[in-house]
Symmetry: D2
Subunit: 130 residues, 4 copies
């Protein structure tokens, strides 16, 4: 199954002057979870870059529903599938624990680039099986 | 007119190991531009927070089209309008200068909260005229 | 004992265009570890702020010895003691695991402020026993 | 003269839950100013990296004297000189404008690395004249 979960907690420096996690920081949480998911499947984002293949985000949609704050623990959920030959879709959700409140829901589209040009997802080492 | 432009440049620490601006950093650029726009209209995000009114993002859609990198200069464009009684829509675009390439296009929905509850945009000091 | 350890790992977005953890990010690691240490002693940085007491850094010295990079795991070690009535000294070290290489050594001086003025460490709830 | 000044302003996302600029963010300001100084002398940090030479920080000392906050404008001052064959010393200061309050004073030691090994500052293209 192309699902994955990662537990994290808010760090105080991630909160802004409103005392809540800044809207940009959720993209850090989402990215870190995607990279840990890929690692769990043997795909190393940094190593791919060194081999000339870059995984980049082409579109993000996020609904912010509940603001995380200092001390909050949460789980980042991920579900992924291919869309056509060129795109990976990551459905991601951040859920506060233990109370289960949804903090954000996100849909992230990733593509692979080689020398700056889109390449088929299937041609990226490790992605054959998605 | 509810339009605004802010010129910025990429700072090296904003680039990640791919050598390009990290996807989360664009939200910093977008937010900073919204806050500068609000300031230009006499609305101070930090001061509002201290008065118990929080402007928060409820939804972001971003299309990433061209990756900015070290040394790039760019302009963040903003266009805003009310949608219903509760929502401000910010259409934002980041354009590399001087060559005019569009780096990202974004649509950001903002809402106002007082004691954690949505309030009418018109009731927030400074927003009457939008 | 006033010692504490926290295990963390490098997140890809924390690396800059050199492919290594940016020098500023280590201060995030150090701060997060101090706050987790304080929490382990019943002291909540965010709660103290809401009660009008701010713990702030007055001086940092860091020796950067070995650069952490994508995928690295590390432990942040902390040792603390009072210095005079007004200062807490945190000796901190970041050590790569499992190989034990020292990434950085740091000395951080923290002080407490109430209404912007220094207060005695002993007068901050939870700090009596340091 | 090896002096340089850069005017910047606080961005709201750089403030943490205390409502002041987070201690790590000052290192971003300091780095950005060093890189702009180097650029003014024809030295491009990112380009050097691509040519196999990395400029890295080996030591930082910072005294935090006055906390910058939302809306503050400031100037980052820089003064640099060589120390021995291997080290560049950057004396840096951040001063709030227009009132001239010193926010921080810093001393940053930078070294050059080629294939991970220290190289003479004079051997780095552009540094001959320092």
């Amino acid at each position: 199954m192309n699902t994955f979960e990662l537990e994290l907690e808010v760090r105080d420096y991630e909160c802004d002057l409103q005392g809540i996690v800044n809207n940009a920081v959720y993209l850090n949480y989402l990215e870190h979870t995607r990279h840990k998911f890929l690692l769990s499947r043997g795909i190393d984002f940094a190593k791919l870059h060194n081999e000339g293949i870059d995984l980049v985000v082409s579109r993000i949609e996020i609904d912010y529903k509940y603001s995380l704050t200092s001390g909050d623990k949460f789980v980042v959920k991920l579900n992924t599938h291919k869309e056509g030959h060129l795109r990976m879709v990551f459905e991601q959700e951040i859920v506060k624990i233990p109370d289960g409140k949804t903090a954000i829901k996100a849909r992230v589209i990733g593509v692979g680039l080689k020398n700056g040009r889109p390449i088929k997802i299937d041609s990226i080492p490790g992605f054959e099986s998605f």
